[in-house]
């Protein structure tokens, strides 16, 4: 079954964990204090993480571990690579929770139960602990809604239009900026562990070590924030429409992608990708249904995010000028 790690693991090298420390401290407290329903810290102690330590992990009502990703700033993109990764820019991200692992087939089947539009067994490479794949964007989003309903949250997606309500407190796919921020975990290198692609095998299932298949989630080393398989295994759907020029005009705070588009963003690379395609900044735009409902890609999966517990911040309310009240993150 899925690994049950009490604490987020740490890579051997921890480059540049820097710009998110204030948000990290705030969110560590928030995780301990404001978790909803039966969510509980996965760590032994409920003491807040100290500045500079790895973010905390909670376990949700449906038993899925999520990392409390701290608010902060990071440099998004890569100045020396693909054109759609430029211009690099400073981006500010509010705190959020992100699944520690890619959505596994067992978890997907549990969450899909009761929804007649979701198949319990859509994957090519079968295995309960392997990541679910052959997933179109709307099925991933639909699963997010189903997970929200099962845990008593407000679903984010309008199932008639696919539009995401960021003010809802339920699950959704990460924005492209959230994904890259979480993947980097404070780093500013090609990968979250540095820029030496020769080390990628320690952290990722990709073309050089996958044996042309997916692998159970969480078997490689995680990033500095305890997130597994951010590089490789399956590419992960993001909430954003893909726009190759978006970095040139997107907002600097919580960018959410273009309003309209024909393709959605995939991030992280997969078992069949080169090391270059697994880079933290690498962007891919893919048809949400792979151009045909009959077809699907066995290298595409997802993981969910949702607003940080108690995050009724100005951004969540749509008021971008106000600051989050610190009191909301403290123990009651």
């Amino acid at each position: 079954m899925m690994p049950k790690l009490a604490r987020p693991g740490r890579p051997a090298r921890r480059p540049g964990v820097a710009r998110a420390t204030i948000g990290l401290l705030v969110l560590a407290v928030a995780a301990a204090a404001s978790c909803r329903k039966v969510e509980r810290p996965a760590q032994d102690s409920d003491a807040p993480a100290a500045a500079g330590e790895a973010p905390r992990v909670i376990t949700t009502e449906t038993g899925i571990e999520m990392v409390v990703v701290p608010a902060g700033r990071f440099t998004m993109g890569n100045p020396g690579s693909e054109a759609d990764e430029r211009p690099v820019r400073e981006v500010e991200i509010d705190a959020f929770l992100m699944d520690r692992y890619e959505m596994s087939q067992a978890r997907f089947a549990e969450l899909a139960r009761g929804n007649p539009f979701l198949s319990a067994s859509p994957s090519h490479f079968k295995g309960p602990d392997r990541p679910v794949e052959m997933i179109s964007w709307d099925i991933a989003a639909l699963l997010c809604n189903e997970r929200s309903r099962k845990e008593g949250f407000e679903p984010c997606y309008d199932e008639e239009t696919g539009k995401c309500n960021f003010q809802a407190d339920g699950y959704r796919l990460p924005t492209e900026a959230e994904w890259e921020y979480a993947c980097r975990a404070g780093s500013d290198t090609e990968y979250h562990f540095g820029s030496d692609a020769r080390l990628l095998k320690r952290y990722a299932w990709f073309a050089d070590d996958s044996g042309k298949t997916t692998h159970p989630v969480g078997q490689k080393e995680p990033n500095a924030w305890g997130l597994f398989d951010m590089h490789g295994n399956v590419a992960e759907w993001c909430n954003d429409f893909y726009d190759k020029d978006y970095y040139g005009h997107g907002p600097a705070k919580n960018p959410r992608g273009p309003e309209e588009g024909n393709r959605y963003v995939l991030r992280g690379g997969a078992w069949n990708c080169s090391a270059d395609a697994c880079r933290a900044a690498r962007r891919v735009g893919e048809d949400p249904g792979f151009a045909d409902a009959c077809f699907a890609q066995d290298a595409v999966g997802f993981r969910c995010v949702r607003r940080a517990p108690g995050d009724d911040t100005a951004e969540a309310r749509g008021d971008s000028d106000a600051s989050p009240p610190l009191s909301q993150f403290l123990h009651k």
Partner: protein, 342 residues
């Protein structure tokens, strides 16, 4: 009178629709000529349609005239009709119950809607043996209701004379959908998705043995021609293709493939079915939708704007729209002209 207006509207819309196609446009004179030829056909077409909140089965002439509701069952949904080789019976699925008790079952009935008989519970996608003595169907993968087409396990064979059911000898058949039985009775052709070690493919499956062959063609929903020599299928959301079945060697394959109908976003084309004479195919066409998980071509999923068409199998994009109300008209199947039962 209404049915004639129906026909004229369909013909008039033909040229307009053709303008949205990537293939050759059909002059209105050709549309009229095709309409006249279809009006003279003795075969009819049965399809599923959503009326007043309920799925029913409708029967129409090949040119779309004389529509008749075969079911009239507001308390249950009838879908996925397939006519017997003698044109006297129809097998279909029915979605019954609500919520956790909802289930999809396979039935057979007379062409006039009488004699409704349960073939199998928690079953789907039935098809006929060419001699009309048996119905093959797929069992649901789990007891829980789903619209997912490939959520199936195994092929089962129902003998109409005895009412007995046998499972196909190959017990590893899994995640198949849209099976059809070859006219010689030796093969099933079906799509597989995320099953049997395959990502996706169209398979030829021995009807009486363990053999399974990947035909190596992209797409889904194959249908074998009445003479057993050709196959029609959908290589994508935007095309219907026909090719020749080559089972002469050890490698089963499809050769000489060509598109018979093409389309462009947002109009999808699906559910191709050969006419009894082998000269035409019927299919459904309609817009894709943004409704999450509600894939319009899936059985039981509402598909507003979808209609039934008939195309000349010897040409490309030579077709006639035979329904125009857009009432989620899908899964057309030719009904052979009546003849004596075997």
């Amino acid at each position: 009178m209404a049915s004639r207006q129906h026909l004229y509207l369909g013909t008039a819309l033909l040229t307009l629709l053709a303008s949205g196609l990537s293939g050759s446009q059909l002059p209105s004179a050709s549309a009229d000529e095709l309409s006249e030829r279809l009006a003279a056909l003795p075969a009819k077409i049965v399809y599923e349609t959503y009326r007043d909140g309920n799925w029913e089965l409708f029967l129409v002439h090949a040119d779309g005239s004389h529509p008749v509701n075969l079911t009239h069952t507001p308390d249950r949904h009838e879908l996925y009709p397939h006519a017997s080789p003698d044109g006297k019976k129809i097998c279909f699925v029915s979605d019954e119950g609500q919520g956790a008790s909802k289930v999809r079952n396979v039935y057979v009935m007379n062409l006039d809607g009488t004699g409704r008989t349960l073939v199998a519970a928690n079953a789907r996608q039935p098809c006929w043996k060419a001699d009309g003595t048996a119905i093959a169907y797929l069992k649901g993968e789990s007891d829980e209701f789903t619209y997912t087409d490939y959520a199936t396990k195994g092929i089962f064979l129902y003998d109409l004379a005895t009412g007995r059911t046998e499972e196909h000898p190959n017990k590893d058949l899994h995640h198949l959908y849209n099976p059809c039985w070859s006219p010689d009775g030796k093969w099933f052709l079906a799509t597989v998705h995320a099953g049997m070690g395959l990502r996706h493919g169209i398979l030829a499956i021995e009807a009486d043995g363990p053999g399974v062959y990947n035909l190596g063609i992209p797409g889904c929903r194959p249908d074998v021609s009445p003479d057993g020599k050709h196959v029609a299928w959908g290589p994508s959301d935007w095309a219907l293709r026909i090719g020749d079945l080559d089972f002469s060697g050890s490698r089963r394959r499809v050769i000489g493939a060509r598109d018979v109908v093409t389309s462009e976003k947002p109009m999808k084309i699906y559910h191709v079915d050969w006419s009894p004479c082998g000269k035409y195919v019927t299919y459904s066409r309609g817009p894709e939708t943004k409704r999450m998980g509600r894939i319009p071509e899936i059985v039981g999923v509402r598909a507003e704007g979808w209609d039934i068409y008939v195309a000349d199998a010897s040409a490309t994009n030579r077709f006639l729209r035979i329904t125009t109300d857009g009432n989620c008209n899908k899964e057309p199947d030719w009904v052979p002209p009546g003849k004596e039962s075997p």
